[in-house]
């Protein structure tokens, strides 16, 4: 691995570049034995580029890859300057507007292209981010800070606790709304975690991300961020919510309840959907349409700060021919409970039953959700379900599997015995268990071509 001065280069070519006294950003010239010359800026390159290729930015802006071997000459023509992000000047803050704290935790929304690996990586700060969206200063008195700078797949319960604590401080300190910028991959897990750790919060706590990094003109970051800050500043509810595009268009952002939302698309802007519920609200240029009036209103009434998560809980997806050894492994490894994504109404193979009975007898929690994604589990319809219930499985209603896992992690850090865990798991805390599932409004099917 070469240092930043020679990002992406290695082996013989790296030696030649260093030998010529060149580093990334310098103006260089490569001459090949046939007399052909390539002159331009030496660029860092991606790891997908072949080892003998030097990447040069021509004066017309194009990068080109030139194969170099020891018969070639590399010359340094002039020193260059390294790429740097310069923050545009920010407009003046308006103290008459609600105070919203934007807390950065990382992710695509705060990412720029990494010219070494070719991937996007967390690189710009929350301040940089809000400075790119000057409209925010007409919406709220925005204060930005960076708490974490990590890919969301690297988050653990420790970071959830850190985030919850920081949000709690901000809320206690008089913040009128909180926005968390977050990587989208696990944003719904964090949303669920904050929903349990900060129950009935006095102000909106809005998680927001982007599916296109902020260094692209078409990034969804600005639209989502404006909607998130607007919601944090002015929404009538005190809830943990997640703000992301409702569809392919930039015109509308869905405000999902933190315990009702999952990421259901790898790349599209409307990756997040509320499941077994409608979004709480829809944001459209400066106005909020409330879709579910049954929300907790702003205010300190009923606010509970209940931090603490255990990582001794697991989520297991059942598939045909799968054996129950995974459960035995989990118990032996010190886990205290599992949420199973069963088939259909909430089933696993019958041969799992003796193992489950033994585990629950020893105080290990086994909860059942469905891998169907939509609908409620009901284990009284078929024999297998009834037998699983008899073996000690707890059916988790219409809870989303990811949310049930997060709730179990939260529950295990505060309930000591199996009865206590069961009771807490089935007690509605933050809208994670719903009473009524409504028919779908419209057919979501499109023609393929």
């Amino acid at each position: 691995m070469s240092s930043e001065k020679w990002e992406g280069y290695s082996g013989l070519l790296l030696e030649m570049i260093r030998g010529a006294g060149c580093e990334v950003g310098d103006e260089v010239e490569v001459e090949r034995p046939d007399g052909s010359r390539f002159r331009g800026l030496l660029m860092s390159k991606t790891e997908l580029s072949a080892e003998n290729i030097i990447v040069i930015k021509l004066p017309n802006g194009y990068n080109v890859g030139v194969a170099v071997d020891p018969s070639c000459t590399i010359r340094r023509i002039a020193p260059g300057r390294r790429p740097a992000f310069t923050r545009p000047p920010t407009p003046p803050q308006r103290p008459d507007l609600p105070r919203v704290r934007v807390i950065g935790t990382g992710g695509t929304i705060a990412s720029r292209v990494d010219y070494r690996t070719g991937a996007v990586r967390p690189a710009i700060s929350s301040e940089d981010l809000v400075s790119l969206v000057p409209e925010l200063y007409d919406v709220a008195y925005v204060e930005a800070e960076v708490l974490l700078s990590v890919y969301s797949e690297d988050l653990t319960v420790k970071e959830w606790e850190l985030i919850a604590e920081r949000v709690y401080q901000v809320v206690r300190g008089g913040g009128e709304g909180v926005v968390l910028t977050h990587g989208t991959d696990t944003m719904h897990y964090t949303a669920a975690a904050l929903s349990f750790a900060l129950q009935r919060p006095p102000v909106p706590i809005v998680l927001v991300g982007a599916q296109r990094s902020s260094d692209r003109p078409s990034s969804d970051a600005a639209t989502n961020l404006i909607a998130a800050v607007w919601t944090a500043a002015r929404a009538p509810f005190g809830e943990v919510v997640l703000a992301m595009h409702s569809w392919h268009s930039d015109d509308e952002v869905a405000i999902h309840r933190g315990t009702r939302v999952v990421k259901m698309h790898t790349s599209a802007r409307n990756a997040f959907r509320s499941v077994n519920a409608s979004p709480l609200a829809l944001y459209r240029s400066g106005s909020l349409e409330i879709l579910d009036a049954d929300y907790h209103p702003r205010g300190l009434d009923g606010f509970v700060y209940a931090p603490g998560f255990s990582d001794r809980a697991a989520l297991v997806k059942f598939y045909p021919s799968m054996g129950p050894q995974i459960l035995e492994y989990l118990e032996a490894s010190g886990f205290r409970g599992v949420v199973i994504e069963g088939t259909g109404l909430g089933h696993v193979a019958r041969r799992w039953i003796p193992v489950i009975r033994r585990l629950t007898d020893s105080g290990f929690f086994v909860g059942m959700c469905s891998q169907c994604r939509f609908g409620r589990v009901n284990m009284r319809v078929y024999n297998t379900g009834r037998d699983l219930l008899a073996a000690g499985v707890t059916q988790l209603e219409d809870m989303l599997p990811e949310v049930a896992l997060v709730k179990l992690m939260w529950t295990l850090s505060r309930a000591d015995d199996l009865e206590g865990v069961r009771e807490l798991m089935l007690r509605p805390i933050a809208g994670e268990i719903g009473a009524r599932i409504l028919p779908e409004v419209a057919c979501n099917w499109t023609t393929r071509s």
């Binding site: 802006g61 194969a67 300057r81 003109p217 078409s218 599209a268």
Partner: protein, 627 residues
């Protein structure tokens, strides 16, 4: 007045773009010629923002576009577009079929293919690309084409994705159709070595032929776009976009040469008058709305009734310099900047006033208000306040430049051969790497394979046609230009005279097209099928246009049915002989020699299109000499 291009130091470079006829788009598996059903179309609304390049700079052209935050609407037809065009899925690796065509082009002109192709993002935030950038990559550098002994150096051969097609545009919203987005485009750009309008046109034609020789490009309307880079000695570079037809190239070049010459003359005159850029820059913008309360100008009245204002900028020492000859005048340039930057409809300037309903009194009042003496000019803009101000600020900047420079510009070509200012010329700052697409390694073995299968240049194809089939140069080139060489060779192989086939396939089809016959419905199989009937004597070649027209109108009709439907099937030879016999016997033996011409006329009248004329002639002469 004829311009002396040499003295002017005219330099023209070309960027010729052409769509490739690949099966798939450049970065996704959508078809490049989808069967459009015109059915389920979705409309997606977006906004684009300026960003910084990897060098931390914001491009001037990108900033220009993002000043106007417009709502962009995309129409997406699912038979032609997927999530990639909607910028909802990362691009797939580059289409190798397209890379091969570009490499073929490179090898045909002796360009040096790069060892590794790196796809770039070229920031374009007018909305024509959903991502806010056009993906583009250099495939090869160098090489040359020759026109009349002049070697024209090729600078780059690039591959890029075609942009979405604009459907309509207003100041607040622009609508694009995504069907075209992502179709591979090849761009061949030459060095700025062309020194006359005619030379530019010939070079463009030569590059067009080169691309067609690859057999990998699409044809027809909208598949070719030509950009011209034009400068004269001491001027900035004019990048003129979107010249669709070859014939327009010399006109555009001549117009630009004339325009740049005029701007140089204006600059020299301003120098003589001692007008400095800083003097122009320091001019304030005045509100002169009060002067026009009761104006006779309809335009100004309308703008004022919509709540607009009239703003004025004094241009010290500019009197008489805003008008010029025809479309070549500084006033038109200033109007271009006002429209582009302020989004206003236009300007009034003092060289054309009084006029357009603006009275002499009003002109005098304005002059007094802004302190403009006889030697000064002024520019008026009537529009909404902020827009009018932005427009005049752009005018001020451009007028100050007029004192000492001719700035780089991106201009648009119009149908009449003139050009208009579009935006500043983008720089290298708008390019950054497309990190979603891995670099494409151009291996020596791939190059060797392409070199082995290199198609002949079209000049060689034309030579062959002339030599082997005795065609004229004109017919040979027409076959090439109509891309019917292969079809021609198949039909000639059936034993039909080459000159007959060539004229039917070129002049004949052109005539039908002029008459509105949908000849694009014809395929080689049906055309060859018809000529097979001719070669078998089942019909005569004189029926060609009738039969081809009939088959064009009915795409399911076969040649046999077409001939029968039109009643053009040849009668049995015996029947023809009997008719000839009858005719000949109607003439006395001593008159028969002289009557041959008249009898032939009667035969043709009866059998035209059914029986070959030469066959009729032969049978008639046989009968006469036998008697």
């Amino acid at each position: 007045m004829q311009l002396d291009y040499k003295e002017l130091g005219l330099r023209v470079g070309l960027e010729i773009h052409r769509q490739l006829n690949t099966r798939r788009k450049l970065f996704c598996p959508c078809s490049t010629s989808p069967p459009l059903r015109g059915g389920a179309r979705i409309e997606v609304a977006r906004y684009l923002r300026e960003t910084q390049s990897e060098l931390g700079e914001v491009d001037q052209a990108a900033r220009f576009e993002s000043r106007r935050m417009r709502r962009i609407v995309y129409l997406s037809d699912p038979s032609a577009t997927c999530l990639v065009e909607l910028d909802e899925e990362p691009p797939h690796p580059i289409n190798e079929e397209a890379v091969r065509i570009a490499l073929t082009t490179a090898l045909m002109v002796g360009a040096r293919p790069l060892d590794e192709i790196h796809v770039m993002r070229k920031i374009v935030i007018d909305g024509s690309n959903t991502s806010g950038f056009q993906r583009t990559c250099v495939v090869a550098l160098g090489g040359e084409i020759r026109i009349d002994g002049l070697a024209v150096p090729i600078q780059t051969i690039t591959l890029e994705e075609d942009a979405a097609r604009i459907v309509r545009s207003t100041p607040s919203e622009v609508v694009y159709d995504l069907t075209r987005l992502g179709i591979p485009l090849i761009e061949v750009s030459t060095g700025p070595v062309l020194t006359s309008p005619q030379e530019a046109a010939r070079a463009a034609e030569a590059i067009g032929r080169l691309l067609r020789a690859t057999r990998g490009v699409k044809r027809g309307l909208g598949t070719v776009r030509q950009d011209l880079n034009i400068s004269v000695r001491g001027s900035g570079l004019m990048e003129v976009k979107g010249v669709q037809e070859l014939e327009l190239i010399p006109k555009v070049v001549e117009f630009e040469a004339r325009r740049l010459k005029h701007l140089q003359d204006v600059m020299a005159e301003l120098g003589r008058r001692g007008v400095s850029p800083s003097l122009v820059e320091s001019q304030p913008i005045h509100d002169v709305t009060g002067v026009f309360r009761d104006t006779g100008s309809r335009v100004i009245r309308r703008k004022l009734s919509e709540g607009g204002v009239v703003l004025c900028l004094r241009l010290p020492g500019f009197a008489g310099l805003l008008r010029g000859e025809g479309e070549v005048r500084l006033g038109r340039e200033l109007a271009g900047y006002a429209k582009a930057w302020g989004g206003v409809e236009g300007i009034f300037h003092s060289d054309e006033l009084p006029g357009y309903g603006v009275s002499e009194d009003e002109v005098r009042s304005v002059r007094t208000l802004v302190g403009a003496g006889e030697g000064d000019a002024f520019v008026l803009v009537a529009d909404e306040g902020a827009r009018a101000r932005e427009a005049l600020e752009a005018v001020r900047t451009r007028a100050a430049q007029a004192c000492h420079t001719i700035p780089d510009e991106t201009r648009g070509a119009l149908q009449d051969g003139t050009t208009v200012y579009l935006r500043p010329r983008p720089g290298a700052a708008r390019m950054y790497p497309e990190t979603d697409i891995p670099p494409f390694r151009v291996s020596p073995s791939l190059l060797a394979e392409i070199a082995r299968g290199l198609p002949p240049p079209l000049e060689k194809v034309a030579e062959d046609l002339m030599r082997r089939y005795g065609l004229s140069s004109q017919l040979a080139w027409e076959l090439i230009d109509e891309e019917r060489v292969e079809e021609f060779e198949i039909i000639v192989g059936l034993g039909i005279a080459p000159s007959v086939v060539a004229s039917v396939l070129t002049e004949g089809l052109k005539q039908l097209r002029r008459e509105g016959v949908p000849v694009e419905n014809l395929d080689t199989e049906r055309i060859a099928g018809y000529f097979r009937l001719v070669s078998e004597g089942a019909t005569a070649k004189e029926s060609a246009l009738q039969v081809l027209a009939e088959m064009s109108r009915d795409p399911t009709l076969g040649p046999e049915e077409a001939v029968d439907r039109l009643g053009l099937r040849a009668p049995p030879l015996e029947e023809v002989r009997q008719f000839i016999d009858q005719l000949v016997r109607g003439v006395t033996p001593e008159e028969r020699g002289r009557a041959a011409g008249r009898l032939m006329g009667e035969l043709m009248k009866k059998y035209r299109g059914r029986v070959d004329g030469s066959l009729l002639n032969k049978l008639l002469l046989e009968r006469i000499s036998a008697s």
